[in-house]
């Protein structure tokens, strides 16, 4: 069967099971948009290419299937660099197709030409400029394989216009031949045995779980491990939902804005079992002072993560799910729950900390602005338990992670590693496309919202009823917090104005329902109204207290023992002193 390169491309995507793609056409990618008219793949026309990339990420976050975006060459390719980097940092499987100028034009600075593979090389797991039309089916097949296996990540295929126009004999490769790519799945049995021994003997262990749990579909396996051993679990920003917040062993989020117990449990642990986590600086604080008494078992599918930041005592390369299942079997072989060391004092200690240092925020003063934490708690209580929450980056992100109760995997969509402001709106749209059966809320900041809000036009046009809660404090809030705390309240370029733009009018102009909430009494009724609207997107402008700061906080470069639960309050320091005396 003869096909054009463009037809072969679309057919290859169909062969990979792609049901939806996000994109925006242009000169060089034009040939690929023609066969789309006959394809059963749904194409969602975005308003900016960055939106296409983040939508593909949001889709991948909640479905576990690779998100697909297709854009043209030059400026379209550079516009999608941010989502590629975001997906690379957070190990999100996406496949991005870009157009390129025709082969004879490459290197001549042609119209809308840029060195896309050169620009995206450091922010993709792999990329290819397809110069031979016959390679299209094979390279598409490989792209999906690379994006979704091992440590997942973004893959980019760059297709010159004349390659799309050329004719090929259609084929579909029945195997993958990548001599340089053989991800390890099974963990080393000897290492797993050693890990089981360490776990069984440890008196103050903590399961430190990261996004790898979700990538490897290991939430159930993790639950079995925690239940068998009775070991408490901290879930990093990327792992919220990987272990239910309602579970008695769940300590919640550790790190710079983690709760006191999660942060301090790691500082006092004698064993950290790191599963699909990468000792990010936002989790460890000053590395030299992180979990000083702990031995480390580190499980990761990416061998380069083992020993990158902290040398593990037991390194295990492998897929989290497979390794955890083998670990559970090894623990059972040693005697299972009966032979675990006595941890009653440790668990009691953690409970005391939880009671003594819960997350707190102040009451609204008479006539004062809303407390953002209260808005999130009210939203949480008004939504189904399995609601998907997307967020941008900043204070609102931290409050969402702290105050939401994540009880199901794949319900939290956010930009962790790259910290991409503007992620929430397009990511929530992608998430809703992937899971139309679920309620999807984006918790956004006013700064973030202004970066990508135009994608709500896409959502309205395509009937994707996402809901956006803007915590509008009229500031770049996180920057404001740092300027207040570390720059002597010298506020430089952080004020945004609460009324410019008018968010309600803007929402309505984009085909959404728009509301504004100023008083605590209006919070719940407005959310209820928003939840009842399903024929278009909804935007609520919550006017929140701009002086509110995110606590607890570990200042950048400080030790996790220095965690501030409130301004000037550092209960961890006293604990460290008494440990030393012991």
């Amino acid at each position: 069967m003869k096909l054009t390169g463009a037809q072969a491309l679309i057919k290859s995507l169909e062969m990979e099971g792609v049901d939806v793609m996000f994109g925006l056409p242009g000169g060089c990618i034009l040939p690929a948009y023609d066969p789309l008219l006959e394809s059963k793949i749904r194409h969602i026309l975005v308003r900016h290419e960055q939106g296409a990339g983040h939508m593909a990420e949001g889709y991948a976050h909640v479905t576990g299937r690779p998100g697909v975006a297709m854009v043209t060459s030059g400026p379209a390719a550079t516009n999608i660099v941010t989502p590629l980097c975001d997906a690379y940092m957070d190990s999100i499987p996406i496949v991005v197709i870009t157009g390129q100028v025709s082969r004879p034009m490459i290197g001549t600075d042609g119209f809308q030409e840029c060195d896309t593979v050169g620009i995206t090389r450091p922010v993709t797991k792999h990329n290819e400029l397809i110069l031979d039309p016959d390679d299209i089916p094979r390279l598409v097949h490989e792209a999906f394989y690379i994006a979704t296996t091992g440590r997942p990540g973004p893959v980019l295929l760059d297709l010159p216009k004349d390659v799309l126009q050329a004719e090929i004999d259609w084929y579909w490769p029945d195997s993958i031949d990548l001599p340089g790519y053989k991800p390890t799945v099974k963990g080393h049995p000897r290492m797993i045995k050693e890990a089981a021994r360490l776990i069984t003997e440890s008196r103050r262990p903590v399961l430190y779980v990261g996004g790898g749990i979700l990538k490897s579909h290991a939430a159930e396996a993790l639950r079995a491990l925690a239940d068998l051993t009775g070991i408490p679990v901290v879930t990093t920003l990327m792992a919220r939902g990987a272990f239910p917040d309602d579970h008695p062993l769940c300590l919640g989020m550790p790190g710079m804005h983690g709760n006191f117990t999660a942060v301090t449990s790691m500082q006092h642990a004698d064993l950290l079992i790191a599963l699909g986590a990468r000792f990010d600086d936002r989790v460890t604080g000053r590395v030299g002072a992180f979990a000083p008494d702990a031995q480390i078992i580190h499980v990761d599918v990416d061998p380069a993560e083992l020993g990158k930041i902290r040398r593990p005592d037991v390194p295990i390369v492998g897929d989290c799910k497979s390794v955890i299942e083998d670990l559970v079997a090894a623990l059972v072989a040693l005697g299972g729950a009966e032979v675990q060391a006595d941890r009653s004092e440790w668990i009691a200690q953690l409970h005391r900390w939880q009671e003594e240092y819960p997350l707190v925020y102040g009451d609204v003063e008479e006539g004062g602005a809303l407390k953002p934490q209260m808005v999130i708690e009210t939203l949480r209580d008004a939504c189904p338990d399995d609601t998907i929450v997307a967020s941008g980056v900043g204070q609102h992100q931290m409050w969402a992670s702290q105050y939401w109760k994540f009880n199901h995997p794949y319900t939290w969509v956010n930009s962790g590693g790259l910290g991409t402001m503007g992620f929430a709106v397009p990511a929530s749209i992608g998430a809703k496309v992937g899971r139309p059966d679920k309620m999807v809320w984006a918790v956004d900041g006013d700064g973030c919202f202004q970066m990508t809000a135009q994608e709500l036009v896409t959502a309205s046009t395509e009937h994707i009823p996402v809901k956006i809660a803007i915590l509008n404090n009229s500031y770049l809030g996180m920057v404001r917090q740092w300027q207040e705390m570390f720059y002597e309240e010298r506020y430089s370029e952080v004020y945004l104005s609460p009324d410019l733009p008018d968010y309600v009018k803007w929402a309505e102009a984009m085909g959404c329902a728009g509301f504004r909430v100023d008083t605590p009494e209006d919070v719940a009724p407005t959310i209820e109204k928003a939840n009842s609207i399903n024929d278009r997107p909804v935007v609520i402008d919550f006017r929140t207290d701009s002086s509110e700061k995110v606590f607890p906080m570990v200042a950048a470069g400080a030790s996790n023992d220095d965690v501030l639960t409130a301004p000037g309050v550092q209960p961890g320091l006293e604990l460290r002193r008494s440990t030393k005396e012991r």
Partner: protein, 179 residues
């Protein structure tokens, strides 16, 4: 003059897919992660699907384990071996133009002879010489030529292979007796 690798360096031979852009991937990874390349040589291998890159890296810039692990994450990298200095053979090639008038020509030629180099071009007042050998030998040669006046000089990166395993006939004989 460039300082040449001696201590505190590692030699990696990296088998890569023989495709466009692979060298850029490897070089890009080194700059992105802040690793220093001391020298680099690329050549086709015996299998036309693969090329061999020999990289000498500065061991101070990052742990070699981290460098090899990051390199291995590149899809186009097929195999990496680290060559320990005691357990490998390493060679580098140098071409140099040396000023050599009637008076000094004899001494330069003598030096080339001592080092088992070759004279590959002769001009009216200069010679182009070639020397292949261990990098330290090339350093010595360069030092001794300098007083005569070096015009142009070019050195390749080093190439290296692991030493072959050897079973000497003697050892086999002993084994045979005991067994």
């Amino acid at each position: 003059m460039a300082t040449h690798p001696t201590r505190g360096h590692h030699t990696l031979t990296v088998l890569v897919e023989n495709k466009a852009g692979v060298l850029a991937r490897v070089a890009g990874l080194f700059s992105r992660r802040g690793y220093n390349i001391e020298s680099l040589a690329v050549a086709p291998s015996d299998d036309e699907r693969f090329s061999r890159i020999t990289i000498v890296v500065d061991a101070e810039s990052a742990p070699i384990e981290q460098i090899t692990k990051q390199l291995f994450k590149l899809i186009s990298v097929v195999k990496i071996s680290e060559l320990e200095p005691g357990n490998s053979v390493e060679r580098e090639l140098m071409l140099a133009t040396i000023k050599a008038n009637a008076e000094t020509r004899g001494r330069v030629i003598e030096l080339v002879g001592v080092f088992e180099g070759k004279i590959i071009d002769v001009g009216s007042d200069a010679l182009t010489v070639m020397l292949a050998g261990q990098p330290t030998k090339l350093d010595d040669f360069e030092d001794l030529l300098r007083p005569y006046g070096i015009g142009d000089i070019q050195r390749t990166g080093r190439v290296a292979l692991a030493r072959l395993e050897r079973n000497t006939p003697h050892l086999r004989a002993v084994k045979g007796k005991v067994g």
